[in-house]
């Protein structure tokens, strides 16, 4: 029996070695025929929901658009079709890291598109830097963006930090309070997760500095499904403004609960999910006046055209926060390739210094970060419109108080 086991083990090891070789053999790239673009995104697992709304549809739409137009343009005027290499990271950073190694070292793709989420983007940043690929991290909200951009000089952070969004919201509320529309009490709830904590940590000092009183300030665990108690306490706090730093299940749940219990604060703010196209449906057609994170200039022809193309290709409109920026980051990449080609160093320099024409307007990065962003948006007349920063072109005027549900 022992001899048998040993022989079986040996056989299995040989088999393993053989299949490893088969896996690592990879596909020999036909040099120059196409441009290969690789990405590893969560198709399955807990992150699949976020990736499936913001990241994957835009990648697919962009590749389709470019290829239908004859391919990516290169500096010499020629065009090459895009060939996609895609892996599922199963929402596990360990698998993600290995997939990036596979794309860079094995498939030797020309460009790598980033995964969805702050954690995943940080997990791959050292690898991307080591292999020299530019990393256009869109779906990563982090206050440490300046630090990261300095640490990995080919990484670009395009969605701002928690402090920015918190400050934008406080600006909107402070203006309304100074106009006498709302009182100076705020009820805040936040999800116990990196994102929620970043925002609440930015919001607490900002609210205090603006003279607001946090009449209710609670954190709830990820996975909470019942918000009746939370909203009941918020309602009892006497605050005119309700602010939730939440993820989609929470944003949706709180909206429904507020409606059914007749909680009508003058400001109702939710975070991720509030700008999703399904939000008005969840609010049963009464989304008017709800504020949320992000926003787009809904009247700009470029955005309207993008929304129409997204709807035609994917089947539903994009979300009004990170989707347009994701798409814009891909347009930047295409224009940078057209100007300087596929050399990673030249590409990185062009992305850092160049100016690009995109669906969100003209984009120029500052210290490898996109700072010209919308922080607060509001549902107005069936569209999710950006309201803050108020002095940015295309900003709508916030409607406060919100009409009752």
């Amino acid at each position: 029996m022992t001899t048998f086991t040993r022989r079986a083990t040996l056989g299995a090891l040989l088999l393993t070695a053989a299949s490893s070789l088969a896996l690592t053999a990879g596909t020999a790239q036909a040099e120059g025929e196409t441009i290969t673009i690789g990405y590893a995104v969560a198709r399955t697992g807990p992150s699949a929901t976020g990736a499936g709304i913001t990241t994957i549809p835009n990648y697919e739409l962009w590749v389709d658009t470019v290829n239908k137009a004859g391919g990516l343009k290169l500096p010499d005027g020629s065009q090459k079709m895009i060939e996609v290499v895609e892996y599922d990271d199963r929402s596990s950073n360990e698998d993600l890291v290995r997939a990036i190694e596979r794309l860079a070292a094995q498939d030797k793709v020309d460009l790598i598109l980033p995964p969805w989420g702050t954690g995943p983007n940080l997990a791959i940043a050292p690898l991307m830097a080591r292999f020299g690929y530019p990393q256009l991290a869109v779906t990563a909200v982090t206050d440490k963006a300046p630090e990261f951009a300095a640490r990995w000089d080919r990484s670009y952070w395009m969605l701002g930090g928690g402090h920015d969004y918190a400050k934008g919201l406080v600006d909107v509320l402070a203006a309304a309070r100074d106009a006498g529309t709302i009182n100076n009490k705020v009820a805040v709830v936040s999800v116990a997760d990196g994102f929620g904590i970043d925002l609440i940590n930015g919001a607490r000092p900002a609210f205090e500095a603006a003279g607001f009183e946090l009449a209710y300030d609670a954190t709830y665990p990820l996975g909470t499904s019942d918000f009746a108690t939370l909203l009941n306490d918020a309602q009892g706090s006497g605050a005119d403004s309700f602010v939730a730093f939440s993820y989609p299940p929470g944003s949706f749940g709180m909206t429904k609960t507020a409606q059914s219990m007749g909680y009508n604060p003058k400001v109702f703010y939710v975070s991720v999910g509030g700008a999703f196209p399904i939000y008005p449906g969840i609010a049963d057609g009464n989304a008017e006046g709800v504020m949320a994170i992000g926003g787009v200039d809904a009247d700009s022809p470029a955005i309207q055209d993008y929304f129409a193309r997204h709807t035609a290709f994917v089947g539903n409109p994009p979300d009004s926060w990170a989707s347009a920026i994701t798409y814009a980051s891909l347009e930047m990449l295409a224009q940078a390739v057209e100007r300087v080609g596929l050399d990673h160093a030249a590409l990185a320099a062009e992305l850092s210094n160049g100016t690009f024409e995109t669906v969100i307007g003209e984009v120029k990065l500052e210290d490898n970060q996109l700072r010209d962003l919308w922080w607060v948006g509001q549902w107005q007349g069936g569209a999710f419109r950006a309201v803050n920063p108020g002095d940015k072109a295309g900003a709508a005027t916030p409607v406060i108080p919100k009409p009752e549900w």
């Binding site: 086991t5 490893s20 690592t24 399955t44 807990p46 702050t118 954690g119 990196g194 940590n201």
Partner: protein, 304 residues
């Protein structure tokens, strides 16, 4: 003599692999070595006693989290030692209180334990330290991680082999067959189970600590990913959890299969995982090795 030389030669060969492998090849080896270590460590306790533990990720996550908390204040070897001690401490507490639970209760408890630890760390971080999400900026190369994991894996297998020949192994086997008989034959049930559980937990914790530099950014929801527990169980059972090489023979092919699936069927990974579980239960209830042996017996009988 050969029994020692052959594995050692294999180990040396595996240790030299980074000289030839690409970055991706090395990444694959790290992943394979990690799962071989996890599955073997899991089987060290569960293989003979038949206690199906889903707490793997509780220990694995604690290892990773310890590195994330301490990587900037302590030198790396010391961090590893602290992580091991944390794992041992938790395993002692958990073991002392739970190892009298049996069957389904133990399974559920171990799963609940992982969730509870995740909730408690989250709450602590949010309310006490005020941050969530920590960074690991350690200058450890992939090859360095690979060598550490290889060493840990080899150590686990050596330990298992030693225990199998030892009184502890015999005691574990008797417990797995019938706890009442074991108690009557003078085996100190609680102590034997506890020793095996703590040993297994320390290895699981160290495995988490060693791989953590590959995460860079650590959050409870990232390191306490229940899939790790599920994969460990299915890998060990597929190979045969009560054999020395069983977990390894289950871990490597399954790991490679999932790697292949993630490229060719990115949408359907859960379906394959599910079918795999069902297949193991129905077709290979005692693992591949036992399955092949039965088949050979049958063939031999048919011939004679």
């Amino acid at each position: 003599m050969m029994r020692i030389i052959l594995p050692l030669a294999g180990l040396v060969l595996l240790a030299l692999l980074p000289l030839w492998l690409s970055d991706y090849g090395l990444g694959l080896m790290v992943g394979a070595a990690t799962y071989v270590t996890l599955a073997s460590a899991w089987a060290l306790f569960s293989g003979h006693t038949h206690y199906v533990s889903l707490a793997t990720v509780a220990f694995y996550g604690i290892g990773a989290y310890t590195v994330a908390v301490l990587n900037e204040v302590l030198p790396y070897p010391l961090v590893l030692m602290v992580a091991g001690a944390m794992g041992a401490g938790l395993a002692l507490i958990v073991g002392l209180s739970t190892l009298r639970l049996k069957g389904v209760y133990f399974v559920i408890f171990s799963f609940g334990l992982a969730e509870l630890i995740r909730q408690l760390i989250t709450w602590y971080e949010v309310n006490v330290t005020g941050t969530l999400g920590r960074y690991i900026f350690l200058e450890i190369t992939t090859a360095g991680i690979y060598w550490q994991m290889l060493g840990l894996g080899a150590l686990t297998l050596a330990l298992t082999a030693w225990i199998h020949r030892n009184r502890l192994g015999l005691a574990l086997r008797v417990i797995g067959d019938d706890e009442a008989v074991a108690a009557h034959s003078g085996i100190h049930l609680a102590r034997v189970k506890l020793i095996a559980f703590v040993l297994s937990a320390v290895i699981l914790t160290l495995a988490g600590a060693i791989t953590s530099p590959r995460y860079v950014y650590v959050e409870p929801s990232i390191v306490f990913n229940p899939t790790v527990s599920f994969l460990t169980v299915i890998m060990a059972l597929l190979g045969g959890a009560n054999r020395l090489c069983g977990p390894m023979l289950g871990a490597v092919p399954l790991f490679l299969l999932f790697e292949w699936l993630s490229a060719h069927f990115p949408d359907s990974y859960p379906i394959f995982l599910g079918l795999m579980f069902i297949a193991v239960v129905f077709v290979l209830p005692n693992g591949v090795i036992a399955g092949v042996e039965t088949l050979r017996h049958k063939l031999r009988e048919a011939r004679s």
